[in-house]
């Protein structure tokens, strides 16, 4: 168990970078310390529709965040449409609808995801070459935004 104060300190050490990235790419970020989660609000880079991307960060960095998409912070989950990705690998698995990357806790079997071959979510920082690599929140968010750019919009 990672004490909440440790998680908060870790997130706060990354906040300047997160905010700097968000400013460059026209997104806003709110750090909700009580949950704890980061709520990113902006526009889908494909269709400009309003979008929230949530990173639930309890146990971070012992465990990766849980990444989900919504229209507003309290609405139900939605998911990107199948990417028009010019043949490149996508991180958006459609069945089940989950971001398939080492930095998403929900990709692991232990959290109802498809991956039982990544050594469990506590192994997330040790995955080998070939997979997408993002070990800090801003890096993960940048990857997600980049892959969203290859989609036409969201499921709802």
């Amino acid at each position: 168990m990672v004490p909440i104060e440790v998680t908060k300190a870790t997130i706060e050490s990354e906040l300047a970078g997160i905010q700097s990235y968000c400013t460059r790419h026209d997104w806003n970020v709110t750090w909700e310390t009580d949950v704890p989660r980061l709520v990113f609000t902006g526009k889908h880079p494909g269709d400009n529709s309003p979008l929230c991307i949530i990173a639930k960060v309890d146990e971070y960095r012992a465990m990766p965040p849980e990444w989900t998409f919504r229209r507003t912070p309290e609405s139900s989950n939605i998911f990107p449409l199948t990417p028009q990705n010019e043949g490149r690998n996508t991180i958006f698995l459609q069945n089940p609808k989950v971001i398939c990357a080492h930095f998403n806790r929900l990709a692991y079997k232990e959290y109802s995801g498809p991956h039982d071959n990544w050594g469990g979510p506590s192994n997330w920082l040790n995955l080998t070459d070939g997979y997408v690599r993002a070990n800090k929140i801003a890096d993960m968010f940048a990857v997600i935004i980049g892959h969203l750019k290859m989609t036409a919009g969201m499921s709802q």
């Binding site: 300047a16 990857v143 935004i145 892959h147």
Partner: protein, 99 residues
């Protein structure tokens, strides 16, 4: 004759722009960027690896750039083919698969 051919080359450079471009590279997790000057024909992957080394971050064969439109650039293409130009602001990202 020599003067005419030099003028032709100057015109070509002006039409295509300088052979090198200076860009600003960020790491998403950090606030302070670094500027780089590269030939336009340099491959994205080589430039990204060079930038990662300068920032002191490890790379693998997925390291690339994201441009100001959020697009993740193709490692195998030259900078100019991916519309990177003088003054472009880039973020260093990974484009490996995960599925």
């Amino acid at each position: 004759m020599e003067r005419r051919s030099n003028l032709k080359e100057e015109k070509k450079k002006d039409e295509g722009g300088a052979p090198e471009i200076t860009v600003v590279v960020h790491i998403p997790n950090e606030v302070t960027p670094i500027s780089f000057t590269w030939p336009k024909t340099k491959k994205i992957g080589e430039a990204a690896d060079e930038a990662a080394a300068k920032f002191g971050v490890p790379t693998n064969n997925t390291t690339t750039f994201q441009d100001e439109t959020h697009r993740i650039l193709d490692r195998n293409k030259p900078l100019v083919a991916e519309h990177v130009k003088e003054g472009s602001i880039l973020d260093l990202v990974s484009n490996g698969g995960g599925v």
